[in-house]
Amino acid sequence: MGSGYAMKNLTIQNVSKTYFDPYAGANVTAVHDISLKVNQGEFISIVGPSGCGKTTLLNMIAGFLPISGGSITIDDKAIKGPGPDRGVVFQTFALFPWKTVGENVGFGPRMRGLPRKECDQIALEFLSLVGLEHVAQKYPNELSGGMQQRVGVVRALANNPDVLLMDEPFASVDAQTRMTLQEELTKIWQERRPTIIFITHDVAESVFLADRVVVLSKGRVLEDMPIQLQRPRVWENLIEDDTFKALSSQVLNKVRSA
């Protein structure tokens, strides 16, 4: 189940981002030179210390920030501003508080012009992916943090985006919920195979989730590490797994050395 028959690859070519900081009174370069290729159906994770440019990069891919230099293309077509082809999941969930859960998830389809009934159906379909079809009539502030973020994920997925951008999405939930959400995410990914770019500062999380871990530092790519771990990945098993531990240490060292 992909978004069409064509292979949609995301290519980030020599991208840089500079902006004027009024407080510093000078130009600040958040991203110096990043080149990255993400193939369809890949799950890559971008890690790095604060200020390494990972959020800026994500905002540029999402189209929220203009690119200063280089290019970002999907199948050689340059991206233009935000759009449903690049779905976003936010750390703050960003669910519309005055709309029900179902209306939130059906928002994307409605923006595409589909009739209300169809949007509701699509919403229920995607909500059932995370077992939340029974809360479709509830309002976001009636749900727990974990449930809200599940809604956030399927809201973005409901548009069949070419790539799903996730900006530290589980940072605002407690540790137990986080582990559950991580496992659920890998399950959904295995079923539907969206292309996912997952930003985090949590090294273990990045190794647990991804096929590839990209370490950023000071606006550049430091390392692009493939993760050869079997799927499905479950915390109970992996937490004692030697390969997992080795990979995590490797990534951690790289991040700390930056």
């Binding site: 935000p82 759009g83 779905g87 976003v88 960003a94 519309f96 994307g108 923006m111 309002y139 976001p140």
Partner: protein, 268 residues
Amino acid sequence: MIILLKVWSLYLRLAAKFPIVQTILPFIPLVIAWALVTEFQVFPRAFLPGPMDVVNAFGTLTYKGVLTQYLEDSVVRLAVGAAVGVAIGIPLGLLIGLSDRVRQAVWPVLLFFQAIGDIAWLPILLVWFGFSLTTMTLIIVYTVLFPIVLNTSLGVRSVSIDLHRAALSLGASKLRVVWEVVLPGALPNIMTGLRNGLGYGWRALIATEIIVGTSGIGFMMFDARRAGSVVEILLGMVVLGTLWYVVDSWVLAPIERATGKRWGLVTQ
């Protein structure tokens, strides 16, 4: 002591069941005190008539249809002025909230004109439009405008940028973001602005009627002053206060609270 507590607990239970009790009860001692003060002629009768006199006046004037007519005039003026003020104020507030440039250009001007105040415009409006309905309506529009614009722009700016971005990345155009995200997001603040605006508008209306009017509650009070008839002044004040209190506490405040609650915000 026990009796006092029993009475008090009875009061609390009644108040919980019928909130109106809690609102009305405090006024009872006040009215009683008022009646006593007038009974004992602490002030000359001509200066302070008693509650019964006011009630009688209320009855007479309502019967003659005068009070209802004045009330209708006042309320209609406020409604018209408020409607125009809202029609101008919300879009303006939206614009100011959405665009930093517009805000920087307009804000100082807004503040200055707000500082001049509504009543200070009366003389020049009288020069332009004379003692007419236009003058009164314009004053009300002016008064209502500022709370609405300021609160709307505040509400717009308080909508988190993630909500904007979420809508955009779900395929909404910029215009649809305003309609689907910004306006609903700003709604609690808009309601606050509306409530404040109506409050100020009500006061401005009274002032304008006193100075300019040919009808309306404010006019009634000032006319009564000229005729030396205190009863009607007091009646006017009671009517004014009660009407506003009722509308504000039982219509406007609950709406404001409901929108705030729905949006998951905590309003006191």
